[in-house]
């Protein structure tokens, strides 16, 4: 399980390009920075009101300097602090080049469910609706299936929707999908998985990219 999360985060890191403004959700997305190439200079933004977050400090933790999850961060030169309304102004207005969010379910047409499991888990929506609405590119990270083996990539989400038609790409420990207006498309297989494996674990039909080759 720990491994799966690392595999997903490592693959997601390749979506982050030099010069991007990036917002990372809690959970698996928070592991992405560990896998960024040193040549990649990006500015991480967080919903509480910070742009240009640097690495987690090891000494002199400052209780007033954290990301949206409350974890300690640092600030790079050129970074800034601002209020949460401005933070979400950036998000809604499309200034986040890439938003990487954790997901509970994603439907074949890009609907995202990630805020509540009624009767069980009540985290609340946080800033996910705005990120899903405003980010230029939204990538959902999740393990491919529930612990009981049921698929999280589905025809229609059974969990309450966060935002409709927003997910552009799904990365799991088994595969990478893109979602276009037309279809859910399997683009890549992660090491050790075949198209058949993915088909057996996915709750929606998908097409296979013409460039995909099984190894």
């Amino acid at each position: 399980m720990g491994d799966e999360r690392q595999v997903i985060a490592q693959r997601a890191a390749r979506e982050v390009k030099d010069g991007m403004i990036v917002n990372l959700g809690i959970g698996i997305p928070s592991l992405v920075p560990d896998y960024l190439d040193a040549s990649i200079h990006v500015f991480f933004q967080a919903e509480n009101g910070i742009l240009g977050m640097g690495p987690t400090p090891t000494t002199n933790l400052d209780g007033n300097l954290s990301n949206a999850a409350g974890d300690p961060v640092s600030l790079l030169p050129g970074g800034s602090y601002f209020d949460s309304a401005l933070a979400f102004g950036m998000i809604r207005r499309g200034f986040i080049d890439i938003s990487i969010l954790g997901a509970l379910q994603v439907s074949a047409n890009g609907n995202l469910a990630n805020w509540i499991v009624p009767g069980k888990r009540v985290p609340g929506v946080g800033g996910a609706m705005e990120l899903a609405y405003g980010a230029k590119n939204l990538i959902a990270l999740m393990t491919h299936c529930e612990k009981d083996g049921s698929p999280k990539i589905v025809k229609e989400c059974t969990l309450p929707i966060t935002t409709y038609h927003c997910v552009k790409k799904i990365i799991t420990e088994m595969a990478v999908f893109t979602i276009t207006d037309d279809a859910l498309q399997l683009d890549e297989l992660m090491p050790g998985y075949s198209i058949t494996d993915v088909k057996n674990s996915t709750g929606a039909d998908f097409i296979v990219s013409s460039t995909l080759t099984e190894k």
Binding site: I50, N64, P72, G89, I116, V125, G126, E130, I161
Partner: protein
């Protein structure tokens, strides 16, 4: 009242909290929620409180401490995930929770604070968070109408205040605090440092003193405990009532 001298004591603040009030609180995950004023609220005995703020904090941090005492009737927030007790109280019907998307919530508080009567957005449309919000058609598109939020009392955490109530904040402890300050009738500020008028750079002032009613000195903040608790389970343990 001298509008240029607003510094007071927690003792004088305590009676300002009242049963049934709508209380807005600054802070994000507990960071920037004024700990001394939360304690003061607890001591005040106020109950049936309607809370509005970013989140339910942690059981020991932010507004979480007060929520766990079951003296809040309702909560408008973007999430309650870091405070399991809030979820329990919600499921037991003891706390009415209205979820609002995080950025929409702070924008609603701003709308109240700057005297606008609502705004339109597509965010949340067609989801459970639409609740019974009014839809407004503009051209051939339909938007959710989000209403402004104001409060009877607001509690705010600042890095520095001058005696008029001009405020500056510290890093990410700013978050929703400026708008809570603007949106409440009785805005109470807990400041790490209180200085005479003229000592703050007028260019750096984030909240002009016009919005502030009372200022108390902070006794220090407690939210770095969040990550100092190595045993993460402690983060969500409920305090004894």
């Amino acid at each position: 009242m001298n509008i240029f001298e607003k510094v007071t004591s927690y003792e004088k603040i305590r009676p300002l909290f009242f049963d049934g009030m709508t209380l807005l609180f600054g802070g994000f995950g507990g960071v920037g929620t004024p700990p001394g004023l939360v304690d003061c609220l607890i001591e005040s005995g106020a109950k049936n409180v309607h809370l509005i703020g970013n989140d339910a904090g942690f059981p020991w941090i932010g507004m979480g401490k007060f929520i766990c005492l079951e003296r809040a009737t309702s909560l408008v927030a973007s999430h309650i995930g870091s405070n399991p007790t809030a979820g329990d109280l919600m499921n037991l019907g003891k706390l009415k929770v209205e979820f609002s998307p995080q950025g929409i919530l702070v924008e609603r508080i701003r709308a109240g604070g700057v005297g606008l009567n609502g705004f339109l957005t597509e965010i949340g449309k067609g989801t459970k968070l639409e609740y019974d919000k009014q839809l407004v058609k503009v051209g051939d598109k339909e938007f959710l109408l989000e209403s402004p939020i104001t409060g009877d009392v607001g509690i705010v955490y600042a890095r520095k205040a001058d005696t008029f109530g001009n405020l500056i904040f510290d890093k990410t402890a700013r978050n929703t605090n400026p708008y809570v300050a603007m949106a409440t009738k009785v805005t109470i500020v807990e400041a790490e440092e209180i200085v005479p008028m003229g000592e703050l750079n007028p260019e750096e002032i984030i909240v002009p003193g016009i919005y502030v009613k009372h200022i108390v000195p902070s006794k220090g903040y407690n939210w770095k405990w969040i990550w100092e608790m190595k045993d993460k389970s402690l983060r969500s343990e409920r305090p004894a009532k």
